[in-house]
Structure formats: structure tokens, C-alpha cells
């Protein structure tokens, strides 16, 4: 039996838009977006912040993880209009100028990345984890990044990188013992 054409909406409804005010990596943006535009599309296509990646469209892989007011969210499952008035941090906002964030240094030093595709989301999930729990156990780290899939590393070195970053973030940068 053929599919009844009436089962599927054939003509989309009118596309509506809204103006939003968002602070992304410390920079204020005022943008008019389609209501249906996903946050990840807004970041990647409107702001050209392509470090946030798309891996599954269904909130499973975590490649699109960004921080909204410090909380990790999967930007493929949030509309841009839902971050109106909020602060968003992406991978591009981790470093301060030429100075890398400790999590970036740690992923590099501990070989916590291979193809690099999951890495931005993984690092942002890690930053959120360490903000909440500055000295996590290995099992807490593994649970903390369980919303982020990596196909290359087997997670061993990601766990090491997060442990290493935790140490770095607890040690004063200068004048330490």
C-alpha cells in the first residue's frame, strides 16, 4: 500500500522570526532568526563559530555541546530563541587571546584527541564538570562526560586530560609551592 499523502504535512507553515539578544564568548549579538533555527545553526552559520560540531541531531553524541550560563547543553536540541538574554560559551571562547584554557592544554598534553571532531564538546562538558566538581574521581569523570561520544580515543586519555586539567586549575599559575 502506498503512503497516503495526507499523512505527511506537505507544505510547511509560515516561517516566523524573532529578534534575540545573546552574549556569545563575551560579545553581544542582536540577531533576527527564524523561530525554528537551532542554536547550533545560529552559532555555526550566523556567527561563523564553526568549532561547535554536529554529530547526530538527536542530543546523543554531544559534539555540539556549548555552555549556556555555564550549564552544558546540546545546541542541536535547543532553538536559538531559547538563549535570548543568555550567555553562551563555545570552544572559541575557551582561550584568552594566545593563552589556552587549562582544559585545552591538558587535551593536547595528554593526547586526549585524535580526529578532533568531538573535542570542542568534550572540552566544554569537562569545563562544566570541573566547575561543579573541581577534584573528580575517575568514575565521576567518566559519568560526567557520558553525554559525549568519542569514536577515536577510547576515552582513556580524555579522562587523563581532565584529571590533568583539574590539577592545573587547582595549582596557582605563578608563585606556587
Amino acid at each position: 500500500m502506498a503512503i497516503d499523502a495526507a499523512e505527511v504535512p506537505r507544505t510547511p507553515g509560515p516561517v516566523t522570526t524573532r529578534t534575540i539578544h545573546v552574549t556569545v564568548n563575551g560579545v553581544s549579538h542582536t540577531s533576527t532568526v527564524q523561530n525554528r533555527m537551532l542554536l547550533v545553526s545560529y552559532l555555526r552559520e550566523r556567527l561563523r563559530l564553526t568549532g561547535t560540531h554536529i554529530g547526530c541531531d538527536t542530543a546523543h553524541c554531544g559534539a555540539c555541546t556549548v555552555l549556556v550560563d555555564g550549564i552544558p547543553v546540546k545546541s542541536c536540541n535547543l532553538f536559538a530563541v531559547q538563549v535570548d538574554g543568555r550567555k553562551v560559551q563555545t570552544v572559541e571562547g575557551l582561550a584568552s587571546g594566545a593563552t589556552l584554557h587549562p582544559i585545552q592544554e591538558a587535551f593536547h598534553e595528554e593526547h586526549g584527541l585524535q580526529c578532533g571532531y568531538c573535542t570542542p564538546g568534550m572540552m566544554l562538558a569537562s569545563v562544566a564538570l570541573l566547575a561543579h566538581n573541581p577534584n573528580p574521581t575517575e568514575d565521576e569523570i567518566r559519568r560526567g562526560i557520558s553525554g559525549n561520544l568519542c569514536r577515536c580515543t577510547g576515552y582513556v586519555n580524555i579522562v587523563r586530560a581532565i584529571q590533568h586539567a583539574a590539577q592545573k586549575m587547582q595549582t596557582p599559575a605563578k608563585g606556587g609551592p
Binding site: 506537505r10 510547511p12 568549532g51 560540531h53 593536547h108 580526529c115 573535542t119 575517575e138 557520558s146 568519542c150
Partner: protein, 781 residues
Amino acid sequence: MTPAEALHGGIGQSIPRKEDARFIRGKGNYVDDVDLPGTLFLDLVRSPYAHAKITALRKEKALAVPGVLAVITGADLAAAKLAWMPTLMSDTQMVLPTDEVMFQGQEVAGVVATDRYAAADGVAAVEVDYEPLPVVVDPFRALEPGAPVLRADKGKKDNHIWHWEVGDKAATEKALKESAVVIKERLYIPRIHVSSIETCGCVAQVDAMGKLTVWMTTQAPHAIRTVFALVSGLPENQIRIISPDIGGGFGGKVPVYPGYVIAVVAALTTGQPVKWVEDRTGNLTADSFARDYHIEAELGATKDGKLTALRVKTLADHGYTDAAANPSKFPAGLFHIITGSYPFATAFVEVDAAYTNKPPGGIAYRCSFRVTEAAYTIERLVDNMAHQLKMDPAELRLKNFIPPEAFPFQSALGWTYDSGNYGGALKKAMEMIGYDALRKEQAEKRRRGELMGIGISSFTEIVGAGPAKQFDILGLKMFDSAEVRIHPTGKVLARLGTKSQGQGHETTYAQILAEELGISSDYITIEEGDTDTAPYGLGTYASRSTPTSGAAAAVAARKIRQKAARIAAHLLEVSPDDIEWKDHKFQVKGVPDKSKTMAEVAFAAYTNPPEGEEAGLEAVDYYNPPNLTFPFGSYICVVDIDKETGQVKVRRFVAVDDCGVIINPMIVEGQIHGGLTMGFAPAMMEEIPYDAEGNNRAGSFLEYLLPTAVETPKWETGKTTTPSPHHPFGAKGVGESATVGAPAAIVNAVLDALEPYGVTNIDIPLSAHKVWKVIHSKDAA
């Protein structure tokens, strides 16, 4: 610089990776990041049916959607003779259908629009009428008389694609008859999917000069360029394939998918750049699958545990077209590595392939052409034989391994293994994990009724394809290449025919050249993936980069050294015969303080070349390996099983790998961690099942379960080093060993734990439910 000063970034050093600099800043350049002005977006209409006749396809409503510019159908492509394309196995595959769809998720039409949201609106508005046809899901039933013939278009009278066999059938039959013990097992290795976190996609652009450039998620850009040229008729110099940063490949980015071709057609017809990036459901339902081998294997042994013969009969489910990515002479890939680490006197293997209403494929899943299927089979059977003989599985292996002095070893099925020390690797793994103590613990636990198991896998890999006389893809010989150029100030640009997808080539190739040229790897830039600049190569898969392009880099550097030695002699005012390459510089023999560095020689090559010597300092090498390489290893897994739930917990997993000489130990260890996880995944979690109507039951990550950090075991690694005798610096390749070796160790451990229940196999993935059923069917009795 003193002669003793260590070269920075040479072979054997765990230097951090160069490519990380952009990835950790979010500055990688993946296909979806390519942003050309005026880019249009392609989205695809996909079939809801596994097998159906298309009775009507209406574009009108889609074309009325704001932003939609074009709808491309099979009929449109047929007019340009592009509705079908060849697969890498010389079968044929639809780009878009004109009459019938052959699997659920098949591409039915392409919608081109100004943005991806409008394209999705357009896809929803394309009207297709289908008349469902009988569906062939089971490959065994596909071969029964009366089954619907799926490829009548090829003149087929049944669904049988090919038969392939190797070995001595009669001698194997005789040896099995004469064996005191013969065990037989049926193993199904289900359909799985590589699921790199980046899906597939491309951006196609035609410039004002008519040149086509395609940024594409491909592991083999040069081969793709040639295929595009042959299929489209465009001159090859007018096609440029750029493989930018790739978010994981694992074999899934070797084939040409219809989306790429439709995007190219759309760019040619609209005159604007066209981007296609598939979503995860498209990736899981239509891109090439891996495995799907139904294996029946028999193994013979003497009473005292000497293995005698191996016979294997396999049915391969290829979906509606054979779109594997094997070398053309090997329809079942390198499956005949199945005699593994053992010196069988005789063996026989046959494989038959069948068409079904499933997506095409038969590609690798992080393994070199059906090697996991082979390693899994032999290592599962050897463990079963040990249980049958009431021997310890480690003892049975140690008794039977090909001994180190037997290399190079000619296997019963025709391979010449380059080098190995299998006993060394297994003994090291046993020592690392504390094997004897674990066996004692297991015996105690068994007395208490607790389920603990220990599984071993001592695999032999076969990688680095390969010698041109045996290996080609669509006739293209499987050499690979390196082009090395030293600038006047002693800095290096090298381009290679392979393409990294996370393997770290920018770092490791620079290390090879650092070692061979005496120049710090910091000053060596590696480029790959652009067919307009890189030398021709067959690409990166099958763990072939180090065995082929890595070898080419070393050989090209050695060619440079020959010329550089003459320049050094000129600078040092001695005969070239008096110059030797020592401590990474040119020295006058016996006079170590009279020397020139490669940088000094390079400067002279451009400013002060000797009379009669061409200026410049560069070389190209197209390396045709004399043989494959045969990495190996021994893995031991310890599991505990919860009797109430059937839940399997991997308590420990020790992996001892031997991949010959290691370029960067940190990167090798990382690849082993990842490979182990992609061995764990199909053993425990991943499968793409189909229901009786041919519906894909794992079309998203909700159903297709990739291991997270929580499920993934805490890997422990170790190594032995047995150099390849034929590779320029003794390396073998490692990216896939762990995926090949791990599943059998895990399954053997689970079956070892379940030995009291008398079960000899559970097909992977080992869900808690399957394990629970074994435990409770016996308890209930």
C-alpha cells in the same frame, strides 16, 4: 650543536601532536565548515520502504516551497547517464532510482535550496507514490529457489553474487576426518556501522573556468578524482578533490555515496556551490555497513591439542549491491588470514555473497578488509577447542603458535607473514594481568557459584596493502607516495598520497622525515588530501599509511640524502665516497668534527651547488611494498557476570600489541585505546538489525549504541617490538589491530564464565538479555 644532541621529534619520541593546535581551538576545517559565498544546500528524500516500485514522483509542491531551487530525480540523472554508478567492487549502484527502491533509507530525490532548513521543507514536500514489493531480508532465504530476484537489471536469475574459495578442499576434508577432535561452530558477526562522529558530506563548486572542486569527507581523494573523471567524462585535470579535516573515517569514508554525486550534479546545473551533509539517520541507514558474515567453521586437533585443519564456509550479506571496498582480486577481502597465528598444514575457506534489500557495503569497520571476521573466527574456535580438550586456552595457543624462528612464514592459505613472536606477546600479557592468580580466583569463584571468565585472543593482523602485483582498487595499484622538498633554510614541506582522519599524520610523518633528514620535526610541514598538490596515492584505510606512505617518506628522504651527500662532499672538499650519514648529519668518515648538517647542505643546494649538480633538494617516491605487514598481539579480558541480570562487566583488559618499530608511542597507544573501544562496541553493544519488512531498527544513536566513557573498560596496554624486515624502518601499522583482536577476547571471557552452562557460542553483541537467557534456561531446567 653537538653530535650527541638528540634530534627533536625523531622516531620513537612521544611528542605531542602538531594538528592539535587547531582542533583544541575549534579551528579545524571539516567539510561542513567550508563556507563559500552563495552556497546552496542539498537534502535528500529517502525511501520509507525496503523494496518498492516508484509509481509516481511529483516535484511541484517542493518547487513551490520558498527557497527551493531544484529537485533532482533519477529520471534527471538518467538523461545524463548518471542514474547508476559503479561500486568499488565493479557492481552497480543507483545514484537515484528511476523505477525501484531497494532498501529503507535509499536516496530517492535531491532537493536543492538556499539554506538547509528550506531544503528540509522541500524534502517534506516531494510526493512519491510507492507500490511495495516482496522484501528479501535473510541472505539464506535470498538464495532459496523462488526468492524474489533483486538484481534482474543485471540479468541475474537469482540473488547469488559471487563464490570465492581458497585453500586445499580435499586435503582439509581428509585432515578433519583424521583428526581425533573436531569442533564446529556457527558464528554470526552482525551488521554494524562505523559511525564516525562526523557524518559524510561534501561541498561541490564549479568555477568560471569550468573546474570542479569538491571538498569531501573521503579517505581516498586521488582515487575518487579518477573515479569521478571516468564516470562523468570530465577531464581529470579539471577535477580537484580536497579532503579537509576528517572527523573519523574507519572505512566508512572510502566509498562514493549518492549524495556526493548529486551535489556535484547540482553544482554543475545551478552554477553555484552546493553543500550536502547527511544527518545521522541517513548515515546509519544508507552509508556502507560492515561485517554481516554468517560463518560456519570447523577446527580439528589431535588428542593432545595439536591443531590440524580449519574449514570455513561463510555467507556474506551485501545488501542490494556489492559496495565493499576490497582490493579487486579479493572479493572477501583478506578473510584468508583466518589461519591466524597457527601453522595449519591445511585449510579451506569459501565465501558466497548474496543480495538482500539492505543498504550496500561490506566495508571495513576499522579493520583491513574482513580481517576482524577472520581473527574473531579463529580465536573463538581455538578457545572452544581448549574447552573441548579441557586444556588451558593459553597453553593450547602456546603449544600451537608459529614459532619465532619460522618467519618469514608461509600460511596454509598463501600469505607470507613477515615477522612475529606470538608466544612473547601472550606471555607478556599473561604476566601483566597475573594469569595464574586469576585462574585460581576463577576456580574458587566457580565453587561458590559465581561467574567469572578469562578470555584470550592472540590475533595476527594483515595490513599495509599492498604489493602492486596483488593489490589494486578498480585497477589502481595500491602503492602510496611522498614528495619531500627541503627549502634553502633547511625547512621541509612534504606531501603524501594518504589522508589522516585523526591518526596524527602531520606529526608522525614529520617524525619519520626528522629521523631520516636530521631536521627537527618542528620544521617539517606535512600536507595531504588535496589532489591538486599531493602526489597520487590510494589513501588511508586498512592501516596502510605507515607501511606505504610512511615508507615512501623514508625512501624519498634517502634519495635526498644521496644528492645531499654529494653537496656535503663539495662543501667539505672531499670525495663523496668519504662522506657518511651519521648522527643525523654528513660527516667525513673518521673525522666527526668535519661535518655538515642537512640545513647547511640545503642552503648550498640553492646558493652554491657543485658543478654539474642540479639546484634544489627534493625527491618523490612511489612506494610499492614488497609484502604486507603482519602486526599481532595477545589480549586478555577478565569479566564478571551478574547472574541475576546477565550483565557482563569487563573487570580488566590487557592488550599487548606488536606493531614493529613505533614512530610515536603516545599516538600508537591512543590508537590502541580507540581500537579496543571499537572492538568492545560490536562485542557488547552495536548492531543494525532489520525486521521482516526490512526496516532498519537502529537508525539513530538512540538504538545504535556507541560506548560512552561509562561502559568502556579501562584499557591496560603493553607492547613487544618485532620489526618488519621489509619496511624501510621496520614499522607495521597499528590503527586497526585492537579492533581486530578485542572482540574474541571479550566473547571468550564471557563464554569461559558461562562454561558451567555448556554453551559454546552466543552471537554478538552480548546483551545482558542474551547472557541472562543462557543462565536461566539452565537454572530453570
